[in-house]
């Protein structure tokens, strides 16, 4: 399955929106796309799909998109695999990008594989690093070394290993990118992008599914990926009720509570507060790991935090292997007292 790769140009990003609001990953992808485009001496195009969403194009421009392709169609109002696949495949076939990156969200991880299979190219999942470089990485005698390839780096085996992957013979080079890892650019008010309205000629077929109902989680939940300070609890916290002491600490520091998978499995906290391989990747300024043993899947989701403070009664807990400051002790004694002292300290300052 080889293609003529020469005719494909430009870095394209998927601008995910839900309910007419851009997801954070959409801006992160443009930020990363700018870096890749600079290396390739090309431009960044954001692809915006939805119904009545044209107003979002300006925001994409202000975060760095050079061009925005808009497919505005009532069939795209809510995310459904088939119409979104039709639209993206039509954009790819028309504009022939060399790189197409999509957020590794619940939407992107459904859309990416379907689109890549339809246009006949490879897809690398859940990347945490993207670079432009040579493939093979070092020249091998008797084998062509291709330049300006997208090198896609991702964790695998529950975070035990890191693999770098290339897609040398097919275009576009496609990747889904883990939210919260790439940095968005500074917003430039009034920045302009070329806006292209594109008719993807969507047609209903056997692959359309019917949406009977949309049920939103009624609880308003905190966005743990945006938090600067996270106070995260694990099984060691002991009960849902006892998360109160973590909440108090988080409140004192103007932070947010998050948790490990064990806590979600036990039903103490909701899934959207879960940090780790099957939850969210976070990189706050400060991460408190309280009563979290530190399974490798958890570490994969938080080890990029600037400062990690771990409190655990087991001195051999793996969490201590990534903690800047590890405290062996009883969280029930330490956490409430710490909260009080922090409050007193902050009161002194004011």
């Amino acid at each position: 399955m080889r293609q003529n790769t020469e005719e494909y140009r430009g870095v394209f990003t998927f601008a995910q929106q839900v309910d007419g609001k851009l997801s954070g990953i959409s801006l992160e992808l443009i930020g990363k796309g700018k870096d890749l485009a600079a290396d390739l001496n090309t431009e960044v195009t954001a692809v915006l799909l939805g119904s009545d969403i044209k107003g979002l194009a300006q925001e994409l421009a202000e975060y760095g998109a050079d061009r925005v392709i808009v497919v505005d169609d009532p069939k795209l109002k809510e995310y459904r695999t088939e119409p979104y696949t039709q639209a993206l495949a039509a954009v790819i076939n028309e504009f022939k990008p060399e790189i197409f990156i999509i957020g590794a969200t619940a939407i992107g991880r459904d859309l990416g594989p379907r689109v890549s299979a339809r246009v006949g190219t490879g897809l690398t999942a859940d990347c945490t690093q993207l670079d432009i470089g040579d493939y093979p990485l070092v020249a091998i005698a008797g084998r062509e070394q291709k330049h300006n390839q997208l090198l896609m780096t991702r964790p695998a085996f529950g975070g035990n290993t890191i693999a770098t992957i290339a897609c040398p013979e097919n275009r576009p080079q496609m990747a889904t990118v883990r939210p919260g890892v790439m940095q968005k650019k500074e917003r430039v008010a009034g920045a302009k992008a070329e806006i292209v309205d594109f008719d993807a000629k969507l047609e209903e077929n056997n692959k359309y599914v019917e949406i009977l109902e949309i049920v939103k989680n009624t609880k308003t939940t905190e966005d743990i990926m945006a938090a600067k300070i996270l106070v995260s609890g694990g099984r060691g916290v002991g009960s849902a009720e006892n998360f109160k002491i973590l909440k108090d600490l988080a409140d004192a520091l103007h932070g947010t509570v998050s948790c490990s998978r064990a806590v979600v499995d036990a039903g103490w906290m909701s899934k959207d507060l879960q940090v780790g391989q099957t939850g969210k990747t976070v990189r706050p300024h400060l991460y408190f790991a309280i009563g979290i043993s530190g399974a490798i899947q958890h570490l994969a989701g938080m080890e990029e935090s600037d400062i990690i403070i771990a409190i655990n009664k087991d001195e051999n807990a793996p969490i201590f292997s990534v903690a800047d400051y590890g405290i062996v002790g009883d969280l029930n004694k330490i956490v409430p007292a710490l909260t009080e002292k922090i409050k007193a300290e902050l009161a002194k300052e004011n």
Binding site: M1, E78, P113, A117, T161, P168, I327, V328
Partner: protein, 260 residues
Amino acid sequence: MKIVVCIKQVPDTKGGVVFNPDGTLNRGAMLTIMNPDDKAGLEAALRIKDKYGAEVTVVTMGLPKADEVLREALAMGADNAILITDRVLGGADTWATSQTIAGALRKLEYDIIITGRQAIDGDTAQVGPQISEHLGIPVISYAQKIEVEGDSVVVERQFDDRYHVLKAKMPVLITALSELNEPRYMTPGGIFDAYDKEVTVFSRADLVGVDDSNIGLKGSPTQIAKASDKVRKGAGEQVNLSASESVDYILGKLKETHII
């Protein structure tokens, strides 16, 4: 009703990971389990079978050793098992894997195909949706609940802050989350029977509608440039103090780092 469940034998990621010199996995050298999301998918199929009556076929692609995971599925209650194994299929990425499995599925009858959302070794979540594309049928991924209604399925599809209740006409492919259910155990009788049952083996020649350019390492658009063990940042200080000393220690660090 006929249900096909795609399952995968995966290395237990709690154990060690062993690579071949070309950067692909040395699967033969690792401890293995049935992939958890796939097991939930199998359980979902068996519950449909219990409730409405259905013939459940499990399919896996892998080394001959993957027979083990099919026997486990038979012992849980699957009716038929198919092992796709052939040297020429090795080293496949998700494109080539999905092409291969789609090629095997074209030989079977199905109303519902269930795969796990993702396997714990690769964590890609790509093969299920890619199979559905090759077969030209709808996909509903991230299923947290599955019901059958006449000639359709009604599925709760999970997103970050909501779920959609989706209805699709069969044939349809569904990818299952492990939150879907608690898989049953194998029964002693089931285990006994499982080793009497026949596992059908498919080789390259049995695949329908698959070009040679789309299988194995050579048919894989993505190639591994480098694979390595994760380098972690390493431990900082660790202290073992009284509770009040611990509090003062943390307070000191919060001040040192200008958090308070």
